[in-house]
């Protein structure tokens, strides 16, 4: 006997109920998949904006100091020979797209009446723009100019500009401690105003040409070289290979190590997905169990007939299991199709979401469709539905043939 065929016909025969249950499973599956697509897009966006917003896929520097003071960091910074060696390795390594030297320092920025703290970065304007310019948002003014024309220019964060009351074309004074421990100051012209999207960063961020920064700090060293790869996939392998090639005294830090927030956000999303997935799983299980139980009572005469002609209880239960499997499969496939369509519609709708906590820029709603969650749904939900039907159909064993035949 084709039990699977019989199960299929029973599912079709009870079309309205099957549609209702299949629809419930489908909506649950679609909700889960859309959630997964949203998480995937969020993680993807967070990762790429973190990397391409300035962090790079990796940063190469000297062996890190034990504490975080800038002046001490600079004692352990890269000298010219180390920098040249690193640049040579990067230039010959396949998969490396761009690199940008950086000099990190901190100090005070003043327009006269007001003074603020800053976290400054000396950059090569051309290489920095080539590597990370696409993710740099200018609120006003222009980027740093290359060469002598831009040697004493500075870009400051939007919030810093607001608090200092300066705009492009005006000047500010930077004060910092040199690597020798003395105080030095420098007047710079504000070329542009940066908007990172994070108000706190906009208050402290400051960029200036690396030559001027070295002059201010009275050093020839740089803090690190940010490296951008051709693509993020395979970045870990490329980083591992690079780390080997760089030799002693040089350390390569992967972007994940430099952005500890990312794995935390990822873990948070994963936990949310597991909780939401479990809830959907329970809904599917209970839905199928309830339907199977109802069906068992409604079809008790049919069950009695099967038992009366000598069909073992296990075979009858197998029939209900197949019916559960089909319901689950229908719901899972329908849910995948529904989620895929919804992804297309939502992505093309251009919906803007409110800025996330800590940011002041709205985020476009984007869902990243990945095949893995759909495959998992298609693999798991039918089995879950089958398990629910199997559990519930134990009831058949407690039914006397006589009682089932005389029902209805």
């Amino acid at each position: 006997m084709q039990w699977f065929s019989l199960a299929h016909r029973n599912v079709v025969r009870n079309g309205r109920r099957s549609m209702l249950l299949g629809g419930t499973i489908a909506v649950g599956a679609a909700a889960l998949l859309l959630f997964a697509a949203y998480i995937a897009a969020s993680l993807d966006g967070l990762r790429e904006s973190t990397i391409r917003g300035g962090l790079g896929h990796a940063q190469v520097g000297a062996v890190p100091p034990q504490d975080g003071y800038a002046e001490q960091q600079l004692q352990f910074a890269l000298d010219a020979s180390q920098t040249a060696r690193i640049e040579a390795v990067l230039a010959t390594t396949e998969g490396v797209r761009r690199s940008a030297p950086r000099l990190q320092f901190s100090g005070l920025v003043s327009n006269g009446p007001r003074t603020l703290n800053f976290q400054g970065t000396g950059v090569d304007p051309v290489r920095e723009r080539q590597a990370f310019g696409a993710f740099q948002v200018l609120a006003a003014g222009a980027s740093l100019q290359a060469g002598d024309a831009g040697r004493y220019q500075v870009m400051i964060g939007k919030e810093m500009a607001r608090r200092l009351g300066v705009s492009p074309g005006q000047s500010v004074t930077l004060m910092t401690t040199t690597v020798q421990g003395s105080i030095n100051a420098m007047d710079l012209e504000v070329a542009g105003v940066l908007a990172t999207g994070v108000p706190e960063l906009d208050l402290y961020t400051l960029q200036m040409p690396i030559g001027a920064a070295q002059e201010l700090l009275r050093t020839q060293k740089i803090s690190s070289i940010a490296v951008l790869y051709q693509e993020t996939a395979g970045a870990d392998a490329l980083s591992a290979g690079l780390a080997q090639s760089l030799g002693p005294g040089i350390v390569l830090r992967r972007w994940q190590d430099l952005a500890p927030l990312y794995p935390q956000v990822r873990a948070l999303f994963r936990n949310q997905f597991m909780v939401f997935g479990s809830i959907i799983g329970v809904i599917v299980f209970l839905g199928v169990a309830a339907m199977t139980l109802t069906t068992i009572y409604e079809r008790s005469k049919e069950i009695g007939t099967l038992r009366a002609i000598g069909i073992p209880q296990a075979m009858v239960r197998r029939l209900f299991m197949f019916e559960g499997l089909l319901q689950g499969a229908f719901g899972a496939f329908a849910g995948c199709a529904l989620a895929w369509l919804a992804t297309l519609v939502l992505n093309s709708a251009g919906i803007e979401l409110a800025p996330p906590p800590g940011r002041n820029v709205s985020v476009p709603l984007y869902l990243l469709w990945l095949p893995q969650p759909s495959l998992a749904i298609i693999a798991v939900l039918p089995l879950l539905a089958m398990a629910a039907a199997w559990m519930t159909s134990r009831r058949i064993g407690a039914m006397e043939v006589k009682a089932t035949l005389s029902s209805n």
Binding site: M1, Q2, W3, L6, R9, N10, V12, R13, K301, E302, G304, T305, L306, R307, A308, I309, G310, I311, P312, Q313, M315, E400, V401, K402, L405
Partner: protein, 224 residues
């Protein structure tokens, strides 16, 4: 010689509120040779209960039933399934065909536990339908068949495993006179052709006339 059916002092009581109803009260009978036996009696006399005991759909409170030498009380669950499938056929008053299956598939259903290939099962089911002159309706579902045709399919299903005993509960109860007569002729022919024993619970006088033996029940007892 082993009797086909041997029933000894079978009793069954049901509780209805505070009252105990004796559905069967010491029934005994024996069928030694292949026969057609009618079990007659008014409604509530215990006919259906007795058939249920013979097919082991329910247990007697006391007494013993042996069919083809097998004591039903001693059979385990899987042995009972095997017994119902191979040694016994059952025909219901309401035919009890599975509505989603065709006539052929309904008959094939009874062969589900056999060690036959799908092709062999199909062939056996087709042969059983041919035996009841229903081969031309084999691909029709019960809803597409008349009552008499459904009962013929039910008979084919009961006979497809070639059991020694077929139990029928009012098989003509839902049929018109002409169709009922055709079904009875079919049963009689199969009994003669295959040597199958039929036990038929009935109110129908024609069944009693056809049957070689008639067991009359009254208030759960064999009437004199």
């Amino acid at each position: 010689m082993t009797a086909i059916v041997e029933v000894q002092e079978v009793r069954k009581r049901y509780q209805r509120g505070d009252e105990q109803i004796a559905a069967l009260d010491g029934i005994s009978f024996r069928i030694g040779e292949p026969a057609v036996m009618a079990i007659a009696g008014p409604s509530g006399s215990g006919k259906s209960t007795l058939l249920g005991m013979l097919a082991r759909f329910e247990r007697p409170d006391s007494g013993c039933i042996r069919i083809a030498g097998a004591q039903l009380d001693a059979l385990k669950e899987h042995e009972l399934d095997n017994f119902r499938n191979r040694k016994l056929g059952f025909i219901f008053q309401n035919f009890n065909l599975v509505p989603t299956l065709t006539a052929l598939e309904n008959v094939e259903l009874a062969l589900a536990t056999c060690c036959l290939s799908r092709r062999e099962r199909r062939a056996a089911a087709a042969a059983a339908l041919e035996m009841v002159a229903m081969e031309h309706r084999s691909e029709h579902t019960p809803a597409q068949l008349s009552g008499g045709q459904q009962q013929r399919v039910a008979i084919a299903r009961a006979l497809v495993n070639r059991p020694g005993l077929v139990i029928a509960d009012e098989p003509t109860g839902n049929l018109d006179g002409k169709t009922a007569q055709q079904v009875l002729e079919l049963v009689d022919g199969l009994h003669r052709q295959l040597g199958t024993t039929f036990i038929i619970a009935t109110h129908d006088q024609r069944v009693m006339e056809m049957a070689g033996q008639v067991l009359r029940l009254e208030d759960g007892r064999v009437a004199p």
